[in-house]
Symmetry: C2
Subunit: 411 residues, 2 copies
């Protein structure tokens, strides 16, 4: 074969539902040289990462760490470590990623119950409460923000509900953490897992996660130490976790002062995850979230200003992604292709019933910026016009400017 040249990506502005353009500081951190797995510098950096993500998750949980996989793997780590075969789990479903929780919990051997809302809506608390009554689950597993529909599930009342049924509360915050309020401890969440490639502003491949003492207790009860490094007196579980790689008890040991060997930590991803959190906490978590809300609102206003109908319950829209309906008669994929080819700007479509019916526009991490919002709206206007859509000239950009002005911020 003839070898391909060095990696040389084209200029892109990633305004889809994620992955998004990484913050340059994150990429720079990821070019730092490696150190050994148990180098004092490395173990210190692991401790820093734990403390940084306690800040991002707004938690005091000791077990706050990285899972060495994409966000999807971390969901599996949480569910396979919490759920024994036969355990009951309740999954409120409002989009594609609720179905993913159902799928993963099913593979863990759990008895999966669901309560569904139509796509574009969230699941009412009363519906969840009624389903809890029937299912009596060990775990209530929720998607916080389902990017497939852009809906953000309210968490009000969930802790009280879980307390009533002595149930653990798990949240998939892949698409929301950093860009939307998610105070883990204040909301009484027992386990939450994320990914770097959305609001956190990094690449996919490392998944921040946090576990409450209550979740840890359940996981610890399933602890086993693998043959080959087991020592006299080490416990072996009656019902060991069905995965070795995603065995959180082992992962806790690896991150503990005992540093019991498990995987080899993905050092470069850890450097990246560390910088993502530094970027957020340097700005301040509140300001970082507020910036997502502000630029998300400007984008939503701008898309409406282009005459595009917004999709879904706007009251429950995630801050960091807006879905709009593809106008009748327009080839949504052709528009996306031209936007990418001629303007270097990526937006997304969606899955299942929404594939080809909506576009999803993300405003996340480093890209939650005025110039990214305005450039996307101007480019989309130009492409829509070339596809025969009658768009108000300047309607997108003007509406975004107006939203920024109403907000008291200058563009």
């Amino acid at each position: 074969m003839s070898l391909p040249g060095p990696i040389d990506p084209p200029a892109r502005l990633l305004m889809g539902p994620g992955p998004i353009t990484a913050h340059p500081r994150v990429l720079q951190a990821m070019s730092a040289q490696l150190v050994g797995q148990y180098d004092p510098f490395m173990t210190h950096a692991m401790g820093e990462v734990q403390e940084l993500y306690r800040g991002v998750f707004e938690t005091a949980n000791a077990q706050t760490l990285l899972i060495d996989s994409t966000a999807r793997g971390a969901i599996e780590a949480a569910l396979v470590s919490l759920l024994e075969p036969g355990d009951r789990v309740l999954v409120p479903v409002m989009g594609r990623f609720g179905h993913l929780l159902v799928e993963i919990a099913g593979r863990c051997g759990a008895e999966v119950h669901t309560v569904e809302a139509p796509w574009g809506e969230v699941v009412p608390l009363e519906a969840i409460a009624a389903a809890m009554e029937t299912a009596r689950p060990k775990v209530l597993a929720m998607v916080h923000g389902d990017t497939s529909t852009t809906m953000r599930q309210p968490f009000d009342g969930l802790r009280e509900l879980c307390d009533r049924f002595d149930c653990l509360l798990y949240a998939d915050v892949t698409a929301t953490l950093g860009g939307n309020p998610f105070p883990t401890d204040a909301w009484g969440v027992d386990a939450a897992t994320a990914g770097l490639q959305k609001c956190l502003g990094g690449p996919s491949g490392s998944a921040p996660a946090t576990f409450s003492p209550r979740a840890v207790e359940v996981i610890e009860s399933r602890r086993s130490i693998e043959a080959g490094i087991r020592e006299a007196g080490d416990p072996t579980a009656a019902h060991p976790i069905r995965s070795n790689y995603f065995d959180l008890a082992m992962i806790f040991d690896y991150w503990s002062p005992r540093r019991l060997n498990h995987h080899t930590e993905a050092t470069t991803m850890l450097y990246g995850a560390r910088e993502c959190a530094r970027v957020i906490l340097e700005e301040g978590l509140g300001s970082y979230q507020e910036r997502h809300a502000r630029h998300g609102a400007a984008m939503a206003a701008g898309l409406a200003g282009l005459g595009l109908a917004r999709y879904g319950d706007q009251e429950h829209r995630m801050a960091n992604v807006v879905a709009v309906e593809i106008p009748e008669g327009v080839d949504g994929e052709a528009v996306r292709r031209q936007l990418l080819a001629d303007f270097g700007i990526e937006i997304g479509t969606s899955f299942g019933p929404l594939a080809g019916r909506v576009w999803r526009v993300g405003i996340m991490g480093w890209n939650a910026r005025t110039d990214a919002v305005l450039a996307t709206l101007a480019a989309l206007e130009a492409v829509l016009r070339r596809h025969g859509v009658r768009v108000p000239p300047g309607g997108g950009v003007d509406a975004a400017y107006a939203a920024y002005a109403a907000d008291g911020t200058t563009a």
Copy 2:
């Protein structure tokens, strides 16, 4: 909290059993900006990665790709996708990582049979054949090079044996791929998984893997498509793979022209994996392997020249790592700490019965270089002397020079 500063690793020469110092070109590639998951540039790069790793694995396997986890996760992906609960698997064990295969296969619900060799030896073919007779396994799962002992298992005769018993052959090549001959197709291996952080010269966090048509057939028979993206006519398996994240049938779909959404590919790790393979194939796989053998032999000679007894069956030593016994009365950990603190050089100890009994010195990837070998030997001599060990002055460096000279290469 007060925020820690930008990541700023100390200067290190990583001469342990891995992770090792990454090739600077790999780190540079990993600072390239992201593109979207289905950007034509991205899907093209995924195709390049597949072709590059066909070169590294010496295979024509269509299903040659990356698993988004560390090497350990890729072992689990192979075993959980190949083994249904109750399936029989035979694992020859000659060190810690054989025990890991036992552990992972057990968690998959497989009936695990083992055939063990004492640590420091390999498992004789006749012993494996006898165990096959008893176990009649669906999969023979082998560690190619077990870094815990530095032994490299010969693969001669294994394909014939597997054919006789209609058995799949899986190999964990995490610690050997690139630095030791491993011609996947010529050896008739059905599934092999690796990691970047050893001879491939990159960071942990992405795992190249390859699967033969025979392995693919077994995996395909367990195919299911998840709820949320399933379409009419899509199959659902009777005995779905017990993991979603490590479901190779889904991962194959994601890497196929259909690009069916599964995880979000870890773009930065993919850039790194791509550059690792480019570095290897640019030099030439044969030359790259030969370089590991040459510098490994020089290191082995040098360590002997320091008066250290080599550990294990030298005829079956991996090219890229040498184990030596820690001299009686010497605190091995104190030596390692001083080597790291004062010379910035890392070497390893081992696990279980060998913890504190041997040092392991790696010669891998970018660090398979004369200066890395000589600097390590000179530094180790100095530290050993300060720990009261009587070492022949210059004995390590001189022996390495002599090995290079005998080899016809100038240092």
